[in-house]
């Protein structure tokens, strides 16, 4: 039963992903084709410079035939629906083509390798963020739930509402101005110092560069999480088993951390997973501000350089990540709450 549910969710997720890629291909078709054509022209012109022993007519003919064969290879001479279809197929097989300007650190211009170079850095930044946010959020949330409507609880919900409409990248700008230029204790950006230190010093240097983006994200993210944890814990505190535990004379601390937190944990964990995917998609700009060379920074550079293949490739990868996240979440939900499996509807 559960296996069937899991397979169904995964299959459904893949279908959704395919549908999205088709939409992207249709939306960005004309620009992407244009870019591809100019890339082919460039490539053919480069090849032609190597052909020395041909006369002018032969050279022209070779260039023309090379171009035609490449255009055929990428189905650019076909009607619109077919072009959209082939572009989707290429995107779905991770064949994003070459970037127009941006290069990977080893000089590679393959869009996929540029993204695969940036992706781990994004994952490092945001997973650490979510782990820290969850830890501190749970602590603060429990603290707030201990005295609902107390001073701390009210302050917390107030800060939640204020940080709700606060762009993380603006806080990042302020943080850089304050702690990188006015009081220079953190580097203003980048992944590591130049030259890169080795050994223990290298790790410390990496952490030093990670610190300010991480602090900014955690400082902004922790309040909303605390508020959610408080709500989850508070609704669990109304349950009969809590009353029973209190009646047995179990100390309040134990009731809170032992009984209530344990029952709230599944909800908190799913929230953390959801938070992870949400924050990657929503806070990508923070990376650009800090010059943290992840996916978000790639967007910044790709927008400035107008590098269409990179933009579309990052969007596809981002969509895939999002999809994987939701499918995992659904499966975890199903594991925790058997009712969802039976319902079948999302």
């Amino acid at each position: 039963m559960y296996r069937k549910f899991v397979l169904k969710r995964i299959g459904y997720g893949i279908l959704m992903y395919i549908a999205m890629i088709f939409i992207f291909s249709a939306l960005f078709n004309s620009v992407a084709d244009e870019t591809m054509r100019s890339q082919i022209d460039e490539e053919v012109a480069q090849e032609a410079t190597k052909l020395r022993n041909l006369n002018e007519d032969q050279l022209k003919a070779t260039i023309e035939s090379r171009r035609a064969s490449k255009i055929r290879q990428f189905h650019l001479d076909e009607p619109l629906p077919s072009r959209i279809f082939w572009r989707s197929v290429r995107t779905l097989t991770f064949d994003y083509g070459n970037s127009t300007i941006i290069k990977a650190s080893n000089g590679d211009r393959l869009a996929l390798s540029i993204i695969l170079e940036a992706l781990p850095r994004t994952i490092v930044l945001f997973t650490t963020e979510v782990i820290l946010v969850t830890i501190f959020g749970v602590i603060l949330g429990l603290y707030a739930a201990r005295k609902p409507n107390g001073l701390f609880d009210r302050t917390n919900s107030m800060i939640t509402m204020i940080t709700n409409g606060l762009p993380a990248w603006w806080l990042a700008m302020i943080a850089i101005m304050a702690f990188s230029y006015t009081i220079p204790i953190f580097p203003p950006g980048g992944l590591h110092s130049n030259p890169v230190p080795t050994g223990i010093a290298g790790i410390l240097d990496y952490l030093w560069h990670l610190a300010l983006p991480l602090l900014t994200l955690v400082l902004l993210g922790v309040w909303g999480t605390a508020y959610l944890v408080r709500n989850i814990v508070l609704s669990n505190l109304q349950e009969d088993f809590v009353m029973a535990a209190r009646a047995r004379g179990i100390p309040e601390r134990k009731v809170l951390f032992g009984h209530t937190l344990r029952t709230s944990m599944p909800a908190i964990m799913t929230m953390a997973v959801l938070g992870l995917f949400g924050s990657i998609a929503g806070n990508i700009i923070v990376e650009g501000i800090f010059g943290w060379p992840g996916i978000g920074n790639l967007y910044f550079i790709a927008v400035q350089q107008n590098d269409v293949p990179i933009l579309m490739a990052t969007l596809s990868i981002e969509t895939l990540l999002n999809m994987v996240g939701f499918v995992i979440l659904d499966i975890v939900y199903g594991l925790l709450d058997p009712r969802i499996k039976v319902g079948g509807k999302a």
Binding site: M16, A19, M20, I23, L27, F28, V31, M158, M161, I162, N164, G165, L166, P167, W169, W170, L171, M173, I174, I176, M177, S180, Y181, T182, P188, A281, G282, I284, I285, G288, I289, Y299, F300, A302, V303, Q304, N306, V308, L311, M312, T314, L315, E318, T319, L321, N322, M323, F326, K345, A346
Partner: protein
């Protein structure tokens, strides 16, 4: 429902709303924002700045990257605030030959520790007019700064910069006092205003000490024939501090930009949330009430949009198609209708089974009549809260896209002010007055809507639950 019933409903609602302190605070801030959005262009120092925000000539007379005026209170060396002198004493002297000498005298009380960066004298008029500009200092010395015949034309006043056009005459002024000092001066290197506003002292070239007191600037115009004329001149003092919130690296007044941004933030936030919530509510009701194929299609569409990463998609589509602000609003709506869809969908599934819906159906009401007359009014109150609650995120999305330089370049938005701050090195140069206010405004507006939405949610939601 009669008008009186509605009024009574509203009275009840208001009585409840008054209990919510944060809701009142949110409403108060919002009212201020709306007033500023409507009438803000009347209180800003640069009235038609919304048409000229990216026009370099419009801003050329402001100081570059000047801090706000009130920072003077915290600094030891007080800088000159930028201002425009428009009040003058006018005298007219007619000579027998028909020549008229017009004299305009401006009083400028100077109480600061640093000289102004520049004085810009503007003279409107028409025809060939010899002009003489001179400065009378509080120590009794007077300097003739400018003496030339200028060609005045209607529409664009003649603009004379003391810092740029009067270096040689400043040296002549010094020569009259102390010839040896003047010999050390080079017209290309000196800063005329720092000498004109400094105490007469041998060291004034290297280390000028400001001479405080009342200065008089005299503009004399010779009107040679009745065909020529001279209008009211004005003097712009270009200082070190400027306006309530300083100026940016392109000499634009930050305060003006902030006030103009309010209007766009409100338009984007309110319009987008209203359209998307109304669409979400209607689609939710339709999907749940009609069922079948409609339900299936709308639910699949919902999932598709819900699973798309919003910000990356908005960035890519703006980078490729460069949408105007109105297309941007439609685009954001295409994402935000999902916010209320699912809740309304499940609520409608419940309402659908109520007896009064059954009764309406039995009386022969059409499906659309039931949707609009019986179900929508119940779910409408719910949508007010979600409208307000969705606005902060909408404003942040627009600002995020603008921050990447993909905003509509015909408007002034807070995101765009921050974009220019980011790209023109405001962080490295510590131009905090350029970075902090726009973000603070985004946060403040988001906060006011969040406060309002939470209060509305508290009041309007229990009624739905107890139904």
């Amino acid at each position: 429902m009669k008008a009186r019933d509605r009024l009574q409903d509203f009275g009840e609602f208001w009585a409840e709303f008054r209990q919510e302190k944060t809701g009142l605070v949110g409403l108060g801030i919002l009212v201020i924002f709306i007033l500023l959005g409507l009438f803000g262009s009347l209180i800003v120092p640069f009235k038609d700045a919304d048409k000229h925000w990216r026009d370099i000539d419009y801003w050329q007379d402001n100081p570059q990257a000047a801090p706000p005026v009130w920072t003077n209170a915290f600094s030891l060396k007080k800088g000159v605030p930028s201002s425009t002198l428009t009040s003058f004493k006018a005298e007219e002297q007619s000579q027998d030959s028909g020549v008229v000498i017009k004299t305009f005298t401006f009083d400028y009380p100077f109480v600061y520790d640093r000289p102004p960066r520049d004085l810009l004298v503007r003279v409107p008029g028409s025809g060939q007019v010899p002009l003489v500009i001179s400065l009378e200092r509080p120590d009794g010395l007077s300097a003739e700064l400018y003496r030339e015949q200028v060609e005045l034309s209607e529409g664009s006043p003649e603009r004379i910069s003391i810092a740029r056009n009067c270096a040689q005459s400043t040296i002549e002024f010094i020569r009259n006092q102390d010839a040896s000092m003047a010999n050390d001066m080079n017209a290309d290197l000196i800063n005329p205003t720092s000498i004109l506003f400094a105490k007469m002292d041998p060291g004034m070239l290297d280390d000028p000490v400001a001479l405080k007191g009342d200065y008089k600037i005299k503009v004399e115009a010779l009107i040679l024939s009745s065909d020529f004329s001279v209008g009211a001149p004005s003097i712009q003092v270009s200082g070190h501090v400027s306006g309530l919130m300083g100026t940016d690296a392109s000499k634009r007044d930050v305060f003006t930009g902030i006030v103009l941004g309010i209007r766009w933030a409100l338009i984007i936030g309110i319009l987008t949330s209203v359209i998307s919530v109304v669409a979400g509510v209607l689609l939710g009701i339709i999907a749940a009430y009609f069922g079948g194929v409609v339900d299936w299609l709308l639910s699949r569409l919902y999932e598709l949009v819900y699973l798309l990463p919003v910000l990356p998609f908005l960035i890519v589509i703006s980078a490729i198609y460069k949408p105007s602000i109105w297309s941007m609003i439609i685009l954001i709506c295409a994402f935000f209708w999902t916010g209320s869809f699912k809740t309304v969908y499940s609520m409608t599934l419940q309402i659908k089974e109520e007896t009064y819906i059954e009764a309406a159906r039995a009386l022969g009401s059409s499906k659309w009549r039931i949707v609009f007359k019986h179900i929508s009014p119940i779910l409408l109150p719910y949508s007010f809260a979600s409208m307000a609650l969705s606005i902060p995120a909408i404003i942040v999305y627009e600002a995020s896209v603008s921050l990447l330089g993909l905003g509509d370049s015909t408007i002034v938005s807070w995101g765009q002010i921050l974009e220019s701050a980011l790209s023109q090195g405001a962080m490295i140069n510590n131009l905090w007055w350029w970075v902090i206010p726009p973000g603070l405004m985004i946060a403040l507006m988001g906060m006011s809507f969040a406060f309002l939405g939470t209060a509305l949610d508290k009041i309007l939601h229990p009624k739905l639950k107890t139904r």
